[in-house]
């Protein structure tokens, strides 16, 4: 995150800062601790004061080339080396390279007898000598309060402490002074009186049996700083603070889309799926398939070669892999190729803030494109609703800032209103899929609908889906008189409809055959009529021929009569008639 070095020097009148190199702390303080001034780090036992101080020195020595002096009043140098070796800090090596000097100041009241006036020049000389011998820029006094228990004369002590801080300022070193938390004051012996420039308070609070570490900057003279209580984490990599609350609402909004992993669901979401970098909420009662939706999404993403981080608060990694295999999704291959990482932890393992810090760290470390939180509702076990909401809003803000698509599953209780979430985060979400059990005709079937999806067209239908060996399959929609039909009612409707279709088709075919038949009949009739006509025509022609013959015969008879009578005017007639008769016959 912020391992920034001071590349650009601020103007001289500005307060110079010494970066701590601690994750997040430099963000809150706007660059680090006040340079050349002492800073008080106070808090109860075991809250991480020494660690913070030592990390300041180690990072200073390694990252910023500023050697450091650690004046320990409690632990011996070899004890410190051993303790910090577990965090990967090799103090002995740093000491050998003159980057770090640890001086153990032993004060034992039983060994000391006070006989008159004295000062703490011995300590001053030791600190001064240590600083000069390695050219230290950073000094830690952990914890100077041991002086109060070792020395009785408080008047001298207080005067000397005042002188000590002036001495440190004169030396120009950036100092951390640790102090134990007091009953009424910040520190038991009122060290805050002397260190007026910067005060950091560490708190280790236990509520509902879970411990949360928090850091707050009470005072930072001459600069602006984050004022909230920031959760912090101490793990094998040391100290890290989460400056999550400082995020504003100015994250980018891309138009890139990302598939849900279920083709027909993509279609419902405007044909392309979710927006990349948006937050998706899937709610539903137990067993509605929330994790399955998540698995589909993750599977599709891994198939595209994208990195996914899966936070599971309910099931173990192996359990999820086994269960998803039963619906044909092999998540193990992605785990093996390193594209998918499971981060399983019990919600009650630590406080909510710690969860957030842990998630933050995991995300920083893995750098995923998609983050799945399954389920967010289980986090309620670690805290109350308001805290969960604030934590989730910060998580989602953070993910949006990083343009990571967040997929959150939320378990709703059966019986409560479906369109509300237990942790009240729906308003933070861009896309909300609601999975529900549709109870009808003695069956429970799974239904899905898109309650909202900001910035895209989306289907308004309630869709039934089935979990098969090939994953989630969205079914066709059948609307009955009482709404969407599901399960066997849908199947019945499906069959009924296919039966009707068949009948209809048969009907058409029958009608077509009838037409054919009618056509055949009419054609037959036409043929018969035609035949009849031919017959009648033949008869008539015969009659006509007969009549013609008779006419001829009559003419010939007349001619014969005329010839026999020898009539002149008739001979001409006879010739022409004879010709006609001849032509007719040929």
């Amino acid at each position: 995150m912020v391992k920034t070095t001071h590349t650009t020097k601020p103007p001289a009148e500005l307060l110079l800062k010494s970066p701590t190199g601690i994750n997040g702390l430099d963000e809150i303080t706007g660059g680090g601790l006040p340079q050349g001034r002492p800073t008080l780090v106070c808090g109860g036992t075991g809250c991480g004061k020494t660690l913070l101080a030592m990390e300041f020195l180690v990072h200073g020595a390694l990252l910023f080339d500023e050697p450091g002096v650690f004046i320990s009043f409690e632990e011996k140098s070899d004890e410190l080396s051993k303790n910090f070796a577990s965090l990967g800090f090799d103090l002995n090596d740093l000491a050998a390279r003159n980057k770090l000097l640890v001086d153990y100041v032993h004060i034992e009241k039983s060994e000391i007898e006070e006989t008159g006036e004295y000062d703490l020049e011995g300590l001053f000389i030791r600190i001064g000598h240590a600083i000069d011998s390695i050219g230290a820029k950073r000094v830690v006094l952990d914890t100077i309060e041991a002086l109060f228990s070792g020395l009785a004369n408080e008047t001298i002590l207080r005067a000397e402490l005042r002188r000590l801080f002036r001495f440190l300022k004169d030396k120009g070193v950036t100092a951390i002074v640790t102090g134990e938390q007091g009953d009424r004051n910040l520190t038991r012996y009122g060290l805050e009186e002397y260190v007026a420039d910067c005060v950091i308070f560490l708190n280790h609070n236990v509520s509902q049996q879970t411990a949360t570490r928090r850091l707050r900057i009470i005072k930072y003279r001459g600069t602006s700083h984050g004022t909230n209580e920031y959760p912090f984490l101490i793990d094998e990599q040391g100290f890290s603070v989460m400056p999550i609350s400082s995020l504003g609402l100015d994250h980018p909004a891309g138009t890139d889309r990302v598939s849900t992993g279920i083709t027909r669901l993509d279609t419902m979401l405007g044909g392309e799926g979710y927006y990349r970098g948006s937050s998706i909420l899937v709610t539903g009662t137990a067993g509605t398939g929330k994790s399955t939706m998540a698995a589909h999404f993750v599977d599709a993403a891994c198939r595209r070669g994208e990195r996914c981080l899966y936070f599971a608060f309910e099931e173990s990694k192996n359990q999820i892999i086994r269960n998803m295999r039963s619906i044909g999704i092999d998540l193990e291959q992605w785990v093996n190729t390193g594209l998918l990482k499971f981060q399983n932890s019990r919600p009650t393992l630590y406080g909510l803030e710690m969860h957030l810090v842990a998630m933050h760290k995991a995300i920083e470390g893995f750098n995923p494109v998609i983050v799945v939180v399954d389920p967010i509702s289980n986090l309620v076990a670690a805290a109350n609703e308001a805290e969960v909401k604030s934590m989730l809003s910060r998580l989602i803000d953070y993910l949006k800032m990083k343009q990571i698509t967040a997929f959150c599953a939320d378990l709703t209780m059966a019986g409560s209103s479906r369109e509300r979430t237990d942790v009240g985060v729906s308003s933070l979400m861009d896309t909300w899929l609601l999975l529900q059990i549709l109870e009808a005709s003695g069956e429970r079937n799974r239904g899905l609908y898109i309650l909202k999806s900001r910035g895209m067209e989306h289907s308004n239908q309630i869709r039934e889906f089935i979990m098969s060996a090939h994953g989630v399959e969205l079914q066709d929609v059948y609307i009955g008189p009482g709404g969407v039909l599901t399960g066997s009612a849908r199947q019945a409707q499906e069959r009924r409809e296919s039966a009707e279709t068949l009948e209809h088709r048969q009907d058409i075919e029958r009608k077509q055959r009838e037409i054919e038949r009618k056509k055949t009949v009419i054609e037959a009739q036409i043929t018969a009529l035609h035949a009849q006509f031919e017959a009648e025509k033949d008869d008539l022609e015969l009659v006509i021929a007969k009549e013609n013959q008779r006419d001829k015969t009559i003419v010939q008879g007349n001619l014969a009569i005329a010839r026999s009578r020898q009539a002149d005017d008739v001979s001409h007639q006879q010739e022409s008639a004879g010709k006609t008769g001849k032509g007719k016959r040929s």
């Binding site: 100041v105 060994e111 000391i112 006989t115 006036e117 004295y118 011995g122 020395l151």
Partner: protein
């Protein structure tokens, strides 16, 4: 660094004191004292005077006194685990004991050096 080694004559008038001292020297041997001061401050000067006086009056030569200026020898401050100045350290005989201040409370020092019983 100032170093002084005073070995006064073993003139013992007081028989009680002689007895006590004999007992101590046989039991625990000579005293090894180190006085750490930070330069010539009024406290340092007073402390040196007071310690010397105590040594002369009560240890009668059975002691070795080192006076160390930690301004000049800062490394001794670390090695001697010195926090305050002036500091008188009774290295021998055991147990180790430290006195801080200008050594003006002679009685306390005597008790601390096991030369007096606590009242």
């Amino acid at each position: 660094m100032k170093k002084s080694k005073d070995v006064p004559a073993k003139a013992l008038q007081d028989s009680t004191a002689a007895f006590e001292l004999a007992l101590r020297t046989t039991d625990k041997g000579d005293y090894l004292l180190r006085l750490y001061v930070s330069g010539i401050t009024p406290n340092s000067v007073r402390a040196i005077e007071n310690v010397k006086k105590i040594c002369t009056e009560h240890l009668h030569g059975h002691y070795e006194l080192d006076i160390i200026d930690i301004y000049q020898q800062p490394i001794f401050a670390k090695e001697g685990q010195i926090v305050a100045a002036p500091t008188l350290v009774k290295e021998l005989p055991p147990p180790l004991r430290k006195f801080i201040g200008d050594m003006s409370h002679t009685e306390r020092i005597l008790v601390g050096l096991d030369l007096r019983k606590k009242i």
